[in-house]
């Protein structure tokens, strides 16, 4: 029982990073009705860019690395928008999808070539802190990961629900034509969405690096798959859904890793997705409203 609780809490804390990735997929889908397949790779790429700081400034504090990953993620998000959406015919449903798949492979290749495919150590914070309640422990680095992720989500929700920028974003996702005719610059809103999701992705990548201790190019594909699973389970286009689904998938895979081992773990995550697709295809929070 204690093992179960331990695995569950570790998993839920780590799941906050999945939630961030899920939010990235779901926001872009909500606003543009497009899947940005390059998102997971761009997030890992952002985290790698954070490591560049250590090249320039050896021994820089982890917070600086995280912040650079955050900014680099935003920049990558904008680049993905520019290359895969801005100049690509948006009405063709396959064009942007294939462009982002290409971008996924490109980012992956760039990472492999610049790091020679070797995993790189990633800085963490509070990794020597342990909260103990009897046998039950809470790892300091995981709590930091969770706290940073929650902070980012709170920031995002405030942006989406409290500011005009967020309202304009939601307006575009609900009624694109009417938003255009209210003078909202839909192209700018789309680009901003990519930058904001990119920022979140950069921090998610950095948090994954911090909690695992290393970054490896092998991370991009599983992260993309997990992100999409979280998005579908949460309900395409639903931010609260992505948050809950992220924590849920994190806890679920951690518990199954405990009982079935790391090799079988992802199998059960797929099974969870299957169950959702069969019994609740709209996800936890099927998107309300939508376009037209």
């Amino acid at each position: 029982m204690l093992d179960f609780l331990q695995a569950l809490s570790d998993g839920v804390l780590f799941g906050a990073t999945y939630a961030l990735i899920g939010i990235g997929f779901t926001l872009v889908f909500g606003v543009m009705h497009k899947i940005n397949m390059a998102y997971g790779a761009a997030s890992v790429g952002g985290a790698y860019c954070g490591l560049l700081v250590l090249q320039v400034m050896a021994g820089a504090p982890p917070l600086v690395v995280f912040f650079c990953a955050f900014l680099a993620g935003g920049l990558l998000g904008w680049l993905v928008y520019l290359t895969c959406f801005h100049f690509i015919p948006i009405t063709n449903p396959l064009a942007t999808l294939m462009a982002t798949v290409g971008m996924l492979l490109l980012i992956d290749e760039i990472i492999v070539h610049t790091t020679a495919g070797m995993p790189m150590a990633y800085p963490a914070m509070f990794d020597d802190v342990m909260l103990r309640v009897g046998e039950f422990t809470l790892r300091g680095d995981l709590m930091m990961v969770f706290a940073v992720s929650v902070l980012c989500m709170a920031g995002l929700l405030a942006l989406l629900y409290r500011t005009r920028l967020g309202l304009a974003t939601r307006a575009v996702s609900q009624q694109t034509v009417a938003a255009l005719l209210c003078g909202i610059r839909v192209g700018q809103v789309n680009a901003t969405t990519f930058v904001v999701t990119g920022l979140l992705g950069g921090i998610a990548g950095a948090m994954i690096g911090a909690s695992v201790g290393t970054l490896s190019p092998l991370l991009t594909t599983p992260l993309t798959v997990k992100g999409l699973i979280v998005t579908v389970i949460g309900g395409l286009g639903s931010v609260p859904g992505a948050i809950i689904a992220g924590l849920m998938v994190g806890g679920f895979e951690s518990v199954l890793q405990l009982y079935r081992g790391v090799t079988e773990r992802d199998l059960y995550v797929m099974l969870l997705l299957f169950v959702f697709l069969v019994f609740r295809p709209g996800g936890l929070f099927a998107a309300k409203g939508g376009r037209d």
Binding site: L167, R170, Q174, R185
Partner: protein, 251 residues
Amino acid sequence: MALLELKGVSRHFGGVRAVDGLDLAVEPGQVFGLIGPNGSGKSTTVNLVAGLFPLTAGAIAFEGRSLEALPTHLRLQAGIARTFQNIRLFGQLSVWQNLWVAQNSPEDRARHGFLARWLGGQSGARDEILPLLEFSGLAHKRDELASNLSFGEQRRLELARAMATRPKLLLLDEPAAGMNSEEVGQLRERILSLRGRGVTILLVEHVMELVMGVTDRIAVLNFGQKIAEGTPAEIQADPAVRKAYLGGEAA
């Protein structure tokens, strides 16, 4: 000089000539009615002025400047706003937020810096939004989600949202569709009040009670072409109009 001038405007969809060589001139301050049987090209004309799709031929000028090169969201900057035949509100935003998010006129843009404008709170726009809420009679529902409003309230909100963009020219696409006669009466008062404030209105409408009551001038379309233009009284007496509407020989 006419505020809005259409010269030889055509829009073809494949072989269908939705609008075919249309000339119109809407003077500043006018309420201009555009009527005609279903499929005669009225809504297409509105969409062309709003910039939802390009012209096949002809030219549209607003305040003497060609609209052709102006993308949709910049037409609003120029002072053109519209409402939709099928309501298109932001359903998951509140009444207040629907109005707030539509404040994109050059005056509103100029008033605040970029950051204050996009990241500032909702309270900044109180002075502009409260009169709009009063105008639409929705002050008591300001925090209600737009999708929870009744049909009539949604239509009022859509009109208020168009006004929030501070238009010089307002395109109303069948604003009275589905309204009962009491609501049509209220709508008529609202349109006249807008006209009193100097807003020019292009009104597309089937409800003749409204069209004849508020317009200064009417153009009648049939099969994408203008078959008559004149004051409401002239139009009511026009044999070609009667023929188009009644189908038979003119009386």
